[in-house]
């Protein structure tokens, strides 16, 4: 039995998937859960100072949205006229449409600003220096606060989707003061106590001073850019209930259990590292779930801020009551995982892949696939009873298949060649593949493809077989069936002597210009001159060959106004070309007549001819049961193929990750982490220790002894590239030695990236290096390791303090890993260096103990 705790809101389908996955490896599983929220939620829109209820618990209420929309509309229409004058004064032409929106809203409320407010946190940060915008922003927040105060809906968590926006929004509420004097003193005492553990200069860090002043007024900020200690202070004060308004990023909804009376969404869109997108229902639920404190509130309020626009109903519905996104496997095959699995005998990597959620769907169907396979295997296959004794039919079949392939190749080449197009003019007599197996039909081209009509229109003589007397409305897809039926015939070989006697018809095609319209329905069937005929569309690959003669046809009368007389004339002309003995007039030789020049095509033409000859020599060629046996064989082959496909599905090779896995194994072999028998070598064992950075780059860097000439401080500075994660930081200024080390490491990464790309992994060297090595904090860490104070190193970069601390803390972990690696390699110098480095960075505010651990 296994107990799995899962505190995420899950839908039923998600739950089924999850339990299915768990049940695959463990047999018994029981699911306990509750579908009820102890504190119900109420969803509202906040627009122009009013709250509109749009949702109650799980139910969407369209009335609220409609009301909000109406207000919005009224304002828009009312203001349009009076705004036109102001618009001219406003000035910025490029922003016109947006501005108008802004104006229309502006007058109804207290805004008088003339600048546009955007929905995107990012862009608003960019032009935040704008007085008007800031004014309107802060007034919007004040409006909201006022409303919430009046309805006693505080404390509130406001979710903004960027660190920058959190800070800006909090700063906008400069004049707000939400705390009583007793609360103020409580906050002050708490802060003093908490920060007393810091060194003197650290206590006056700008961030700490700024946040403290905010806190005193009952306003909090919480995001990853803050120092850990500041974050903890904010969390603790919020839980005590003295912070009334908390601006936070999404992370606050994830890790910290600190509910509020109300949750506010700054916007419904967020930047997820790649682009702006709508919030997912799961994310919305997670954040909205912060609203409503159990035992304190009867109801939790979720508010969505509307600035210029009321969100669409579909968008709202999607996030509020929409289907959660499908569970997706986050299983990533890594080198460390492969190495760890390879060094124990017990679990094969393939088994690991099989058990991953990515393969879950395929693996779930495995029993059925097995059943199907057994069924297919048990299907009795009739053996071929050859009347000629020793069966040679397999050989014959193989040749036939090969010949078919050659023929396809040739006809393709013929159709592409220039001369063929010359031949494919209306009136040309052609041989067309027929839908029944062995017969090919004589026909004449009536219309060549044009831009509107992609297929050839051909009149063919059909035989008197039953299929040809079907009603004209026979389904068109017969054409497709035709392609499947293929029995080779020796039609290309024609006695060469006969070719000379061809009569030449060089009557030009009717010069009358038709409209080009086709008034008959394909396939159009009829009977003329004692023969069945059919007018149909075919594709170029269905042509089997061309004949020399050309006949006179009346294209327009055939296609536009079907006339029996015209048809019978054409049919008769065609019939004339049927010579005795052969069914068709001699065909054009692709090489000689059609001037086929493509080397490969000519070659395959010759091979084809040879093959046909061989087939004729085979004793099955003349056999009366040939057709029957061929069919039987074809069926058998099909069955075999199916069985093989099923077997493949069940094998390890069918795993989705298999190609990736193979590539990675090859890479590991190439850099000697494992030997040819997949036994992990010393380099592989070192790579196993590397968890904090990219294992390959770290290992390679160690084995190339890149830290040899570096001091511990420099080494740890370079190592920060492994753990730091932010892109786009200010460029650090480096000492020559560091710059050289950086270059060396970068080259290593590029080399490894190229190696991986060479083994067909989806790795692009440049991206790979950029992704895994971020040198943004090298200078900062170097200075820190040398003993510079925290305030000073913060001034060196634009990276937020919180991230610096996080990186340095993780760097200590990396030092430890490198130390372990050094002892595996047996190098005491490196071991000592890493120890010194670790000691150098472990000091002051960065490694200040957590308030949760020590208590305040």
């Amino acid at each position: 039995m296994l107990t799995l705790f899962c505190f995420q809101p899950l839908s039923q389908t998600q739950l089924n998937l999850l339990t299915g996955l768990v049940a695959q490896s463990k047999k018994k599983i029981r699911v306990l859960g509750t579908s009820k929220r102890p504190v119900p939620l109420e969803h509202c829109l906040f627009y122009s100072g009013e709250l509109y209820r749009v949702g109650d618990n799980e139910v969407f209420l369209p009335q609220g949205l409609r009301a909000a929309k109406e207000v919005h509309k009224k304002k828009n229409s009312g203001m349009l006229a009076s705004n036109s004058g102001a618009l001219l004064g406003g000035g910025h032409g490029a922003n016109q449409p947006r501005q108008r929106e802004n104006f229309s809203r502006g007058k109804g409320q207290m805004h008088s600003g003339s600048q546009s407010t955007s929905n995107f946190p990012g862009t608003s940060g960019a032009n935040s220096s704008n007085w008007g915008q800031r004014k309107s922003e802060s007034s919007l927040w004040f409006l909201l606060l006022h409303k919430l105060l009046k309805k006693s809906l505080l404390p509130v968590v406001i979710f903004c989707f960027s660190k920058n926006r959190c800070d800006k929004s909090a700063d906008n509420l400069k004049s707000a003061d939400l705390t009583s004097s007793s609360e103020k003193s409580e906050i002050r005492i708490f802060c003093d106590k908490a920060f007393s553990r810091l060194k003197g200069s650290d206590r006056n860090l700008p961030q700490i001073v700024r946040v403290q002043s905010l806190l005193r007024r009952g306003i909090g900020v919480h995001h990853a850019g803050l120092l850990p200690i500041v974050k903890e202070v904010v969390e603790m004060l919020f839980c005590r209930g003295v912070i009334k308004v908390l601006f936070s990023t999404e992370t606050f909804a994830m890790g910290v259990n600190a509910p509020a009376r109300t949750a506010v969404f700054d916007s419904l869109r967020k930047y997820d590292g790649k682009d702006f997108r709508q919030l997912l229902p799961g994310e919305y639920i997670q954040m909205a779930g912060r609203a409503g404190r159990r035992g304190l509130d009867d109801i939790g309020t979720v508010i969505l801020m509307c600035r210029d626009d009321i969100p669409e109903e579909s968008d709202l519905k999607h996030v509020m009551v929409g289907k959660p996104t499908k569970l997706e496997s986050q299983f990533r095959l890594t080198y460390t995982m492969i190495l760890h699995l390879l060094r124990v005998e017990e679990l094969k990597v393939e088994d690991m892949l099989k058990r991953s959620f990515a393969e879950f769907h395929a693996q779930k169907n495995l029993p059925e696939t097995k059943k199907l396979l057994l069924l297919k295997l048990s299907e009795s296959t009739k053996s071929i009873e050859c009347i000629k004794g020793e069966p040679a039919i397999e050989e014959y079949f193989e040749m036939a298949v090969q010949a078919e392939a050659y023929r396809d190749h040739i006809s393709e080449a013929v159709m592409q060649s220039q001369s063929a197009h010359h031949f494919l003019s209306p009136g040309k007599v052609v041989v067309v593949k027929s839908q029944s197996d062995d017969d090919h039909l004589l026909g004449v081209i009536i219309k060549t493809p044009s831009s509107t009509h992609k297929k050839y229109v051909v009149l063919v003589l059909t035989t008197d077989m039953a299929s040809s007397v079907q009603s004209p409305s026979a389904p068109m897809n017969k054409l497709k069936e035709k392609e499947n039926s293929n029995t080779p015939q020796g039609y290309f070989i024609q006695p060469k002597g006969k070719r000379g006697m061809d009569e030449e018809y060089f009557t030009s095609v009717s010069s009358r210009k038709g409209t080009g319209a086709i008034n008959i329905k394909f396939p159009y069937r009829g009977n003329a001159a004692g023969m069945n005929y059919e007018v149909r569309e075919i594709e170029s690959k269905e042509f089997m060959g061309f004949c020399h003669p050309k006949i006179k046809i009346d294209q327009i009368s055939i296609l536009e106004n079907p006339n029996n007389a015209v048809y019978s004339k054409t049919v008769q002309q065609l019939l004339e070309h049927r010579l005795d003995g052969t069914k068709y007039p001699p065909l054009l030789d692709p090489v000689k007549d059609l001037k086929l020049k493509d080397m490969i095509a000519v070659e395959s033409y010759q091979k084809h001819n040879k093959l046909l000859q061989k087939m004729a020599e085979n004793k099955c060629h003349g056999c009366i049961k040939l057709k029957e046996h061929l069919l039987l064989l074809k069926e058998q082959n099909k069955l075999m193929e199916e069985v093989n496909a099923l077997k493949f599905q069940m094998s390890d090779e069918a795993l989705q990750q298999m190609p990736d896995f193979q590539g990675r194994i090859d890479v590991l072999k190439e850099i000697h982490c494992i030997d040819s028998d997949l036994v992990v070598q010393i380099k592989g064992r070192v790579a196993c220790e590397m968890n904090s950075g990219d294992e390959l780059i770290c290992t390679e860097c160690l084995f190339e002894n890149q830290f040899d000439d570096l001091e511990p401080e420099e080494a740890v500075a370079i190592m920060s590239a492994f753990v730091f994660q932010q892109k786009n930081t200010s460029e650090p200024t480096l000492t020559p030695k560091l710059a050289q080390a950086k270059k060396r490491l970068w080259d290593t990464a590029i080399k490894l990236g190229e190696l991986q790309a060479q083994f067909k992994l989806a790795v692009y060297p440049d991206e790979y290096a950029k992704e895994n090595l971020k040198f943004g904090l090298v200078e900062v860490v170097y200075e820190w390791a040398k003993g510079t104070s925290f305030a000073d190193i913060c001034a060196l970069t634009d990276v937020p303090e919180g991230l610096i601390v996080r990186t340095i803390v993780r760097l200590d972990e990396t030092c430890r890993e490198f130390k372990n690696a050094a002892s595996i390699m047996g190098n005491s110098a490196l071991h000592k260096k890493m120890e010194t480095a670790s000691d150098a960075i472990k000091r002051d505010i960065v490694f200040a103990a957590s308030l949760y651990v020590t208590g305040v």
Binding site: E345, D677, K683, R685, F703, N705, Q706, M825, G826
Partner: protein, 318 residues
């Protein structure tokens, strides 16, 4: 260590054996590319800068000097000496066979041929009832029902703890107590790390475990029990006692065990192929199990090894 094999050779056998060893050393010197060093030998590094000195090396007067006898190995910039004859040194993931020497609070102590005793914690052991749960005091009291002193156990190296002690784990059906068989002790360096160390020799009905620590287990083949089968444990216990290992299997075990003894006495690397090969050869030339350790077969085995290496060398050269 295993008892030294005392073989009394007659004159011709002595000559043959000497010739065989001479051959082997010739082949060896041809094939091996690695540089052999002994203690205080200078390892030539061609004045490359940035050499990373690994195990078995030291710097002396600006030169890299070996501190062990062995083969010089190089990986990128790392230079280290792989000792030829060394005591077993555990690595994570090694499969080892060991003997319980002590039961301590929440742990068993095992002798595994390492410089210190290994520790197998109660919590890194699957409980007999197959349920994953916290170990209680009762479990602790019942530790002897799982393993007693002098039991032979197979386990996997989990890693070194912070205090430097070596920890094992046995959280798999494959690991656990080994019964009905022989434990052989050979020098650890004769057992190479491979992909597989558990071998089921079907034709003999014998399980063979080549412990990386040089302890080799040859025992009757056991079908791994299903984890879920909990109910009639007592009855299966009884069944076990009643069923005896058949004579044929016992003989097979002895034959395999003697093969191992022979190979290790000759100082050849121990692998499944070599073991099976030797056992088959003894069978085909009608040599009794007891005579396998005799002079004649001893010399024969050495000669066969020479033949094998010669053909291998030929194949390599194409």
């Amino acid at each position: 260590m295993m008892r030294e094999l005392h073989v009394s050779l007659n004159q011709t056998q002595k000559v043959r054996l000497q010739a065989a060893f001479q051959h082997l050393s010739d082949i060896g010197s041809q094939a091996s590319s690695g540089l052999l060093v002994s203690v205080s030998d200078t390892i030539p590094v061609n004045n490359e800068d940035g050499i990373l000195k690994g195990h078995g090396t030291s710097e002396h007067d600006g030169q890299v000097v070996a501190t062990l006898c062995g083969v010089v190995e190089r990986v990128n910039k790392l230079v280290y000496v792989r000792a030829l004859r060394a005591r077993y040194k555990p690595e994570v993931g090694d499969i080892i066979v060991g003997r319980v020497i002590e039961i301590a609070p929440k742990r068993w102590k095992l002798e595994i041929n390492f410089s210190q005793d290994a520790v197998l914690m109660l919590q890194s052991m699957n409980l007999p009832d197959g349920i994953q749960r916290r170990r209680t005091v009762v479990d602790e009291l019942n530790m002897r029902t799982i393993f007693e002193e002098n039991d032979v156990i197979c386990a996997e190296v989990r890693g070194f703890q912070h205090d430097g002690s070596l920890h094992l784990q046995a959280r798999s059906q494959k690991y656990g107590k080994l019964e009905r068989g022989q434990l052989l002790r050979v020098p650890a360096y004769l057992v190479k790390r491979r992909k597989q160390h558990f071998h089921d020799l079907e034709q003999y009905g014998v399980d063979l475990i080549l412990g990386c620590n040089g302890f080799i287990w040859v025992g009757e083949h056991v079908v791994p029990a299903d984890n879920e089968m909990v109910e009639d444990q007592e009855s299966t216990l009884k069944d076990k006692e009643q069923s005896y290992t058949p004579l044929e299997i016992r003989q097979n075990i002895c034959r395999i065990a003697n093969s191992v003894r022979l190979i290790s006495a000759l100082g050849f690397a121990i692998s499944v192929d070599a073991i099976i090969d030797t056992a088959e050869a003894s069978k085909s030339s009608n040599i009794d199990i007891k005579d396998m350790l005799g002079a004649e077969f001893y010399v024969q085995t050495a000669e066969r090894e020479v033949q094998k290496r010669i053909s291998l060398l030929k194949k390599k050269r194409g």
